[in-house]
Subunit: 294 residues, 2 copies
């Protein structure tokens, strides 16, 4: 069958003519934006049904040709549609002229993972654990940073975490398409097990928060000498008390001025980026030439 | 006068009854969200007309009482309204039960600024210059980070930059209300003048970009030994060529893995947070006790 909207495409369509809804393959979702669609086409992690492209001119045309080549290589049909059909397909989000119909991505379950047993705990491993991150923009930004900065694994708490939606993929700038994301049903047992294996569990705290029974240090003082799990809580609530109590220490990002009460924290993805970079720089310093000493 | 919607408030209002539009003071705008409204009430930078609050229960009630006290101290009338009136007031944005009618905040003009002449160039000063940041969410996140991390001044290019809207204030978590933001009509002349005064102008570059005639170094190798201007470009386009050529050097955030083509950068506010923290940590290291050496 051919979707009914195809007859409507083109510039000659009269203003105000109704955009007919596009029939979707059962169980599919609509990825939107250049990076998520291009990355999904480059990987074999989703079943792909149709690529929807806006007829484009100018520099956007090059991007389109690239996507058409990728789709051809994967045997994915390409349909040229109007802007309004794309708006409709992705619910008015910023699609940059491209949508892709595909099966959803799911979290990998830590419980089913066989690979980690063989990993030596002597390696400089860094895992990022996300507790109840519900905002898809924050989750996407966190995945993008984790991927870029070299986090070995991201694990989320299954309970109260945002699923791996197309919005998360867009906010991750496509990193979600190439980077496995794990989840666990029982965050507490998972952290306890890793601690027993010799991992260091590190939480975060902002200047206005207090933590009992867990030492707080500046991220500048932190030394990386065993595999680390960095645990991040949600923007509003931070880490749960149960998780805080499983941390060996809490990292604080020092502020550079006296802060007005009520503006005493950073955005969660900015704070996580700073902490990951601060930790990773200890590894990077060893391999980079230092050209500008003194 | 009393706005007409006041008669409509309360839980007894029948479902579906139309929300009458609220008349606005000429030239005012509507701030939304707890942090922007609370910070605006705490400062004398805007004229404030009315505080709109949702009747609240639970923990939100404490926040409301605090806002009512702040409004009383400033002599700002408080109106209790329904959720739908608040939705209408701020165009459906996330208001957290509070809106504030106020005069807009404007950029301070660098050209009118008299203060900087007296500042010694020997101090460890850090200014952040934003070139053509048009996305209000990014601008807000950048202001929040700049404020937290201790940037001495933020300067934007007047041309093609987003104005200081309520959305920017919300994204800055209220930092925009307490932190002066400057703009200049002529970014190039401004950078040239600061360079002539002995400032170091530092740009940024991602791994996939090339820059001619400007040395590129890792942010880990950067040494802070004179007043710095860090120049940031927009997420899509980066710095203009003209601005790049005015930079003494370009900073690169090293990635922690081999990156897939197309996902070779960080979100602009995350990248800026990492660069500012990386620069500031050189100042902070000197004043913090190092408890965990070795």
């Amino acid at each position: 069958w051919l979707p009914s909207f195809v007859e409507l495409k083109g510039r000659s369509r009269p203003q105000g003519r109704r955009v007919l809804p596009i029939e979707r393959t059962r169980g599919s979702e609509i990825l939107f934006g250049v990076a998520p669609c291009s990355m999904a086409l480059s990987q074999a992690r989703r079943d792909l049904f149709r690529l929807f492209l806006k007829q484009s001119v100018g520099p956007q045309r090059l991007v389109s040709s690239e996507l058409v080549l990728q789709a051809a290589a994967r045997g994915v049909p390409v349909l040229h549609v109007g802007r309004r059909e794309l708006d409709e397909l992705c619910g008015g989000r910023v699609h940059q002229g491209v949508c892709l119909e595909a099966t959803p991505l799911r979290y990998k379950r830590m419980e089913e993972d066989e690979g980690s047993d063989g990993e030596s705990t002597n390696r400089q491993l860094l895992w990022l654990v996300l507790e109840q991150i519900q905002d898809p923009m924050n989750l996407g930004a966190l995945l993008r940073s984790a991927y870029f900065l070299g986090v070995d694994r991201v694990v989320t708490s299954r309970r109260n975490s945002c699923p791996l939606t197309p919005t998360v993929s867009k906010a991750s700038s496509g990193a979600m398409e190439v980077f496995d994301v794990y989840s666990t049903d029982d965050l507490r047992s998972f952290l306890k097990a890793k601690a027993a294996e010799g991992w260091e569990v590190v939480g975060t705290v902002s200047q206005s928060e207090t933590v009992e029974n867990v030492p707080v240090i500046s991220c500048l003082e932190f030394r990386w000498n065993k595999p680390i799990i960095l645990v991040i809580g949600s923007e509003g609530d931070g880490l749960s008390l149960e998780t805080q109590l499983l941390c060996h220490q809490m990292l604080l990002i020092p502020s550079g001025r006296t802060l007005h009460p009520g503006i005493e924290s950073l955005n969660v993805s900015v704070a996580t980026g700073i902490l990951l970079h601060s930790i990773c720089s200890q590894k990077l310093r060893k391999v980079l030439p230092l050209q500008q000493q003194g």
